[in-house]
Symmetry: C2
Subunit: 450 residues, 2 copies
């Protein structure tokens, strides 16, 4: 839905809420897709949210809304609800979404809910809860179509008509042997096209991609994206089929991981904070700025050490911003390219030295270009060759080191399996600031003989 | 394929290439998925790439490889090929991928290719080329299943068996009226489940999402992602069904747009440059650094104006890094949050003032916290209250302005439909640097009475 239509929706719902036009409101709410309602909810107060929520008559729509809402909004919303009502809604939802929600609730509430759910449902959910949240096991759905390899196409179609009517996305028909191990894959389309008596094993594809339950969700997403498939089967250690990860969840993962990386690199937490309260956003952003604060204070003490030189050559101070700025910007380029390259699989941690060497080379080249330029400005302004050369050399060293640090840190972190994005942003910038200032003053005092 | 397996593949292919073990190599190449081959190609020289490419026997695999290769690699690869061979491969590919490739080739080559292609194929491709590359029309595939609304389920299944065998992803069956206008949607699954004589219009869903040919691809991706659908139908101005956009293309768009945003914000071009040559990467990154260079030189002239003040209070220089650093970092936080929020639909350009006000508030709060902290350090070190207050005020103003500029610029750009990411990165940082330095010196010279 384009954002214009969304705005109109938000505004008319707010107006109707003010007027208390319940029956009109009910009609709108029940005709609107839950994904759009979740956007509307962001603009409403808690009281308004509760009022609107009770107007939804379809329990499944309530379920979709549950999984679409922001975590905070959801927690606030269910606080006033009866456990029985929550349970009834959860029972209408796919098990993976329920597991997601339950996993984030306080333990006492989640236990109460699981106890009240139908045994079959709660067992499925508890089965999923055993896996780490961010692995294939944690994001898979346990509803898939598995057929025995000896079944004929006709028998397969009949079983689809009788059972499996609740399966979310029935485009792949997985084929298993007598032990439940994954041996092949077919499709509804093929069932319809082959002669009805052909057994599945005669026309199934046997080169089926599968992932293990403990594979990281980012890896799973990469596989689905790379091979353009709609779902990937998840198998346990003995190759038994236990679930599938569907492409709609993969899209969510890709978007979420990109957002996380971007925010982490900027030192702005990892979840999107703009929709949170001012106090909450402030609290999330505060600690990251502390790195930069400590770095700045360090730089301050470094410059303090050179006070006597500054006294003789006051204009040294005027070049601090340009040297810091050039280093900072090329450092951001390098670390961003490396972090994104690692995330998209374009770069690999094992290529550490070739990547760093390349970045360093680029840093030196760009350093020479801008060193010459900025040095010329210095010479033009102060006609002191030693100063101009100092400034030029400081720019070269600052930009080279920045490219080196900016690529080495994230590559190094990736090598030891720490998320390169989280470690990169503010720390790299701060380190580059300090190093740039230090090098500048050392070079300048040496060349100027002070 | 996990990256370990990929590395092993690359290494054994390189080894076999060196040894000239053609038959063994041929077996491996023809058993490997084209998506993996495209990764292998990145690590090979052009000669090796050409050798490997001729070993692929399946023309369709060559086609998949064509669409998976990086643009540069692709252009180099086809340079040595006969037009007839290229045409034969393109004819085996989906029309949207062909249009993508043709659109990027020099006009004389693309014309020759289109002339040599089968009329039906080239017409499809030329039909797609009419649409802007980054719109629904530019990314849709013209192969979809459209059935008349009066058809029965049985007739529909029969027509699927006879025609439509080349359709890429046959999970949605679109229903059109006699003029080809989209009126509903059904699924293979439903066809199999309903009584065979039911006409489509009796069981199709009529609330079908569709997009116009000129909708921006990012909007299309958002719709597919939000409603968890596998394909969205594309209609022309008269609601005639002309194509579908499938979820696998949506994934590529989401990843590409995220990469573009990240790189643009860092001033590192928009395409991933690390796999390009050093010279090319340098050329792409050079101009972005120019903004920062100009900004630095401006800051230098500003500080030059205060030379006499610096002469009296040398230690003023020592606080330049911390004030610039704090402003720069909070500015990055603000602009990153806003750019990502706009990209994911969490924020809207119409909410400009509420977002900017919130960021400004956070900037002031964080500015007060860190202003107090850094001011205290200044007081502790120099015991000059006027200096400590100047530094504190400079931090507050720098951080507040940075949060303001960092959010206002991208919000403003979004409002006038300029990509906020491209305009934000280096420009915002540079602007903040200059303003921070200027405010600092104005405040300090005023308070210190110099």
């Amino acid at each position: 839905m384009p954002s214009d239509r969304n705005r109109i929706l938000v505004e008319s719902i707010k107006r109707l809420l003010r007027r208390g036009a319940t029956s009109h409101l009910g009609k709108i709410v029940n005709k609107t897709h839950a994904a759009d309602l979740s956007v509307v909810f962001r603009s409403l107060s808690l009281t308004e949210q509760r009022k609107l929520f009770t107007m939804i008559s379809d329990v499944e729509q309530k379920g979709v809304l549950f999984s679409e809402l922001d975590e905070d909004t959801f927690q606030d919303l269910i606080e006033g609800m009866k456990i029985e009502d929550i349970v009834r809604i959860l029972e209408s939802m796919p098990a993976d979404d329920v597991a997601d929600i339950i996993g984030r609730l306080p333990e006492d509430i989640s236990k109460t809910i699981l106890d009240k759910m139908k045994t079959a449902e709660s067992e499925e959910v508890e089965g999923l809860l055993r896996y780490d949240d961010e692995t294939a096991g944690g994001i898979m759905v346990p509803d898939f179509i598995a057929l025995k390899e000896d079944n004929t196409a006709r028998a397969a179609i009949e079983s689809l008509q009788k059972e499996h009517s609740d399966v979310e996305m029935p485009f792949y028909l997985y084929v298993v042997d007598e032990y439940g191990k994954l041996v092949g894959v077919s499709s509804l389309r093929q069932l319809v096209v082959v002669p009805p008596d052909t057994p599945l094993k005669d026309f199934m594809a046997t080169d089926v991609f599968s992932v293990q339950t403990d594979m990281d969700q980012e890896e799973v997403a990469k596989i689905v994206a790379r091979y353009d498939i709609l779902a990937v089967p998840v198998v346990d250690g003995t190759n038994r089929l236990v679930g599938i990860v569907t492409v709609d969840d993969v899209i969510d993962i890709i978007r979420k991981e990109a957002t996380e990386d971007i925010l982490r690199m900027a030192g702005a937490g990892e979840e999107f904070v703009e929709t949170k309260s001012i106090l909450k956003s402030t609290r999330i952003r505060l600690p990251w700025l502390f790195a930069s604060c400590i770095g700045g204070i360090l730089a301050f003490f470094i410059i303090g050490k050179f006070e006597s030189s500054l006294l003789k050559f006051t204009y040294l101070a005027a070049f601090i911003p340009v040297i810091m700025g050039m280093g900072g910007n090329i450092g951001t380029q390098s670390s961003t390219i490396v972090v994104r390259g690692l995330a998209t699989g374009r770069l690999h941690a094992r290529d550490l030295w070739s990547v760093v060497l390349k970045e360093l080379t680029i840093g030196v080249i760009l350093g020479l270009v801008y060193g010459l330029l900025i040095g010329s400005v210095a010479q033009f302004r102060y006609s002191t060759l030693a100063l101009a050369i100092s400034v030029a050399l400081a720019v070269v060293s600052s930009m080279s080191i920045a490219a080196l640090v900016g690529s080495l840190v994230p590559m190094g972190f990736a090598r030891v399996n720490i998320d390169p994005a989280v470690a990169t942003g503010p720390f790299v910038t701060t380190a580059i600031d300090i190093i740039s200032v230090l090098f500048y003053f050392v070079i300048a005092t040496t060349l100027l003989g002070i």
